[in-house]
């Protein structure tokens, strides 16, 4: 999470990530010798796909999420899974609902690799500000899922306007190690467990740069500098390694997370703007023995795109945000295209309850900026920036993010090319269940919070 003090000065209240005035609090350290860290799955997903009907989308332009485009394509799904995709000659089996998608487009469900929905919910009042445990520079013990408010109206906007079917909820960036993320299916739910993406790995959120050093430096604490950031990180990794090699006689929630990272079971999502800091983080990962999955808000990734390609690290970026803080001063709209040109992995992310409604549009802007400097990236590849590559970042590219046989039937039918400003989702399916239909007012989700309020059930 960027912690800019002026995010949407006149509009959004989401900048509350900055309002870090919580009282210091001892890091949780529970002793429970009876339990072992590695054998249980606490807070397990109870998500179950909703019922769907075997469906054939016929005559659409299909972007499969992995760079393939099929004109006059057919997409078949049933029992929650993609059955087949193909051209007009693909036979439609008996019993399928046939939807004429002529002139329309089909993509995999959109995946946001960087969201704080539920943790920084609307309304953005202090009481709903649950995204930064800003009481210690390293809090690998906290889990974002324990802050998620499923009634955040932002989930529904992401679904109906953005076609978002999965989203990675990350702790904020006040801390060097902010805690564990949680990947959610974007289904209305009463409990977070009912949204948890089954089988998704955890990620550890880390943050470089200005935020941690400002938050703690302003309290006269370490870190107050970038070198302090690294010192605290390195010592924490050294301690985690000692814990890992120990007898685990005492449970330690933070070190359990870090051990998971060192064992490669937990991914690392690293908020990091500047080129030289990303390079240093890559060396820190080598030193400590872990892998960075993605740099988020990587506004200077274009300066080191070759290095990111070699390290096999995705760059999760906005299209053209810049200037809101010092480390964002060199942001340029051509960032994504320049990363793609070097053959590195591009993800378009939101970090924003408004931006998540238009990831497709952000990708289109980034594509156009590239085209103007002679970097031509086909639409089908650009679609992967907010589908397959984002799913890869979240560690679930084998399950969602593309329209391939056997994968989750997370599907968006758009009323035009998703890279056009004039296009919106028309229908959205999650695991084959239709959860949004623009043509049916009763198929617009309304959270508990909005019942009986002005505009309940309105098209938002």
């Amino acid at each position: 999470m960027r912690i800019s003090p002026e995010i949407g000065r006149w509009g959004s209240a989401v900048a509350l990530a900055l309002a870090l005035t919580l009282a210091p609090q001892a890091q949780a350290k529970k002793k429970d010798k009876a339990q072992s860290a590695s054998t249980e799955v606490p807070y397990a997903s109870t998500y179950k796909p909703y019922p769907g009907r075997p469906t054939a989308l016929v005559g659409a332009t299909v972007f499969d999420g992995r760079g393939q485009r099929i004109d006059n394509g057919t997409v078949l799904f049933a029992q929650g899974k993609v059955v087949a995709i193909g051209g007009g000659d693909l036979a439609i089996p008996e019993g399928y609902d046939r939807i004429d998608a002529t002139g329309k487009f089909v993509t995999p469900g959109v995946v946001d690799a960087h969201s704080h929905l539920g943790d920084y919910a609307s309304p953005g009042v202090d009481a709903n500000s649950d995204g930064n445990e800003a009481t210690s520079p390293t809090t690998p013990d906290v889990w974002a899922e324990h802050s998620v408010w499923p009634q955040d109206p932002g989930f529904s906007r992401a679904l109906v306007n953005g076609g978002v079917t999965s989203l990675l909820i990350l702790p904020g960036s006040a801390n060097l190690m902010g805690g564990r993320s949680v990947l959610l299916k974007n289904v209305p739910a009463i409990t977070v467990q009912q949204m948890k993406f089954p089988g998704a790995p955890y990620s550890l959120k880390m943050a470089c740069g200005e935020n941690p050093k400002r938050v703690y430096g302003s309290r006269g604490m370490k870190p107050s500098t970038r070198m302090g950031n690294f010192a605290v990180n390195r010592q924490t990794w050294i301690d985690a390694k000692a814990y890992m090699e120990g007898d685990h006689s005492e449970r330690d929630l933070g070190n359990e997370t870090l051990e998971g990272v060192l064992k490669g079971e937990i991914l690392v999502q690293n908020h990091c703007y500047r080129a030289e800091e990303m390079a240093l983080v890559l060396d820190m990962a080598k030193e400590a023995g872990y892998k960075v999955t993605a740099f988020h808000h990587a506004v200077e990734a274009y300066k080191i795109a070759d290095m990111l390609r070699e390290a096999d690290v995705c760059a999760a970026v906005w299209a053209d945000w810049y200037g809101f803080k010092m480390e964002a001063y060199d942001g340029i709209p051509e960032n994504a295209a320049l990363i793609a040109k070097q053959g590195a992995c591009v993800v378009i992310h939101s970090d924003d309850p408004n931006g998540i409604q238009r990831l497709n549009q952000a990708a289109a802007k980034a594509q156009a900026a590239g085209r103007r400097m002679g970097i031509d990236i086909p639409d089908a590849e650009v679609v992967s920036w907010f589908t397959y590559n984002a799913a890869k970042t979240a560690g679930v590219a084998d399950k969602t993010g593309s329209l391939e046989e056997g994968k989750m039937a997370d599907v968006v039918l758009w009323n035009g090319n998703p890279l056009s400003v004039y296009t919106r989702p028309e229908k959205v399916w999650i695991d084959g269940a239709m959860l949004y239909d623009a043509d049916n007012p009763k198929m617009h989700p309304v959270s508990d919070f909005e019942l009986g309020q002005p505009g309940e059930g309105d098209v938002k």
Binding site: G8, W10, N354, R358, R372, L419, V459
Partner: protein, 433 residues
């Protein structure tokens, strides 16, 4: 020697004041959107002479000898008018030394005037200009009073002149943030506002040199700054979101009939659209707000703009401050067009949407017919686009302000050029510039 000479020439060129004069030109065979709410037409010509638009339309003869730009396959429009921005007031938002948007510790409020802070060489201005924005209104943000101070109208030309009109409006903030600034409640904000306007009214009618009431709360400077507001000579921009807050704003006219009100925000405007229209009060809004981000915005929907327009309210897209970039005006307008294809939603036609980022904000700013429009006599602000300006794939290829062609050499543009490859075989990147 030659090399030294050329270097000297180059340095002299760099040091010379940027006194580029307006060029006369014709743009031909382009798709023309005038900004006035009319539908775009193909095969059109725009003539600019002496820094002003002379003609714009189809079948216009190009005077012999005029420099002609072929607009085939392109769109030509007026420069965008970005309403209610903080352009020229910050270099990096979060670097407070570089940020002049608000004055938390100033003893003054309504008398604050953005003009001395405006920096025409500002990077945010350069980037916005490359995005097709040529004119803007600039507002201060509130410090510790509900009165933020006085905004200005600017042009974004690459030259030393920036102010088109100083002290173009006063901003007062109501609703939740106004309540906080006034001491903790809307009740307090209402008293502060009414008291300030009454003190200004008293000052306006007092004879010169007369003492003010001994219990006056406002500094003389702040009271004096509000005199043109109560006289109706300077518009009063009022930020309010909730329907009931908007009604309270409209009711101000009963005590202060001369007020020229402009609503800013109006997230729940659609709930009181007919009342706003009846009061003849225009609105500047963020059109894509659709989250109940505060309790004062529970009714927020992207259909807000379309519904207000349908009720007869004049609505401009604006509020490009913080990290809501002015160059995003086009995509925000485009999204309102997208709504026209969603059952149950209310959007704008293409022409209405484009007017909401050109002529309408200019009209609300008091420069209707002069800015944000391609019409005879208007300023020579012309943008040539590589496609439909509201589409995500489009961008300006050329921008003229007052007939002067603008450079595309912002910090961002230079970074792009430097890093178009990553080759460091012979020299570090520091030498490619």
């Amino acid at each position: 020697m030659k090399r030294i000479l050329s270097l000297a020439t180059a340095l002299a060129a760099l040091a010379a004041p940027l006194a580029v004069s307006a060029q006369d030109l014709a743009i031909t065979n382009a798709t023309l959107a005038k900004g006035d709410g009319s539908a775009p037409v193909e095969g059109a010509t725009v003539l600019v002479q002496g820094g002003k638009v002379v003609a714009a339309g189809v079948g216009i003869a190009v005077p012999a000898g005029l420099e002609t730009v072929d607009g085939t396959g392109k769109w030509v429009t007026p420069g965008l008018f970005a309403a209610f921005t903080d352009l020229g007031l910050w270099d990096v938002q979060a670097v407070s030394d570089s940020n002049d948007t608000e004055a938390d510790d100033s003893p003054f409020n309504a008398s604050l005037d953005v003009v001395p802070a405006l920096n025409p060489a500002n990077e945010h201005i350069a980037v916005s200009r490359e995005g097709g924005v040529t004119r803007a209104s600039v507002t201060p943000a509130p410090g510790k009073s509900i009165f933020a101070g006085q905004g200005a109208l600017i042009d974004l030309g690459h030259d030393a002149k920036i102010v088109d009109a100083p002290r173009a409006f006063q901003l007062v903030v109501l609703g939740e943030s106004g309540a906080r600034l006034a001491g903790g409640s809307r009740v307090a904000a209402s008293v502060v506002l009414h008291n300030a306007l009454r003190e200004a009214k008293a000052l306006a009618s007092a004879s010169a040199g007369a003492d003010r009431a001994s219990d006056a709360m406002l500094t003389h400077a702040d009271a004096a700054a509000l005199v043109p507001v109560v006289k109706g000579e300077q518009p009063l921009y009022v930020k309010a979101e909730r329907a009931s807050d908007i009604r309270a704003v409209l009711a101000l006219k009963s005590e202060f009939p001369a007020l020229k009100l402009v609503l800013v925000g109006a997230t729940e405007g659609w709930l009181v659209a007919r009342e706003i229209a009846a009061a003849g009060v225009p609105v500047i809004t963020m059109p894509l707000r659709d989250l109940p981000e505060q309790f004062e915005a529970l009714g927020s929907t992207q259909s807000n703009t379309g519904r207000m327009v349908q009720a007869g309210v004049k609505v401009a897209i604006g509020m490009f401050s913080g990290d809501n970039q002015p160059r995003w005006a086009t995509e925000q307008a485009g999204n309102l067009v997208a709504l026209t294809r969603i059952p149950g939603a209310t959007g704008l036609t293409w022409a209405q949407a484009f007017a909401a980022i050109t002529s309408i904000p200019a009209e609300i700013s008091g420069v209707g017919g002069k800015e944000g429009i391609l019409a005879p006599g208007a300023v020579g602000d012309v943008v040539l686009w590589d496609g439909d300006p509201l589409e995500l794939s489009s961008a300006p290829v050329s921008v003229w302000i007052d007939g002067v062609k603008q450079p595309f050499d912002s910090h961002q543009a230079r970074l792009r050029e430097r890093y178009k490859d990553l080759d460091r075989t012979y020299l570090p990147k520091a030498y490619s510039w």
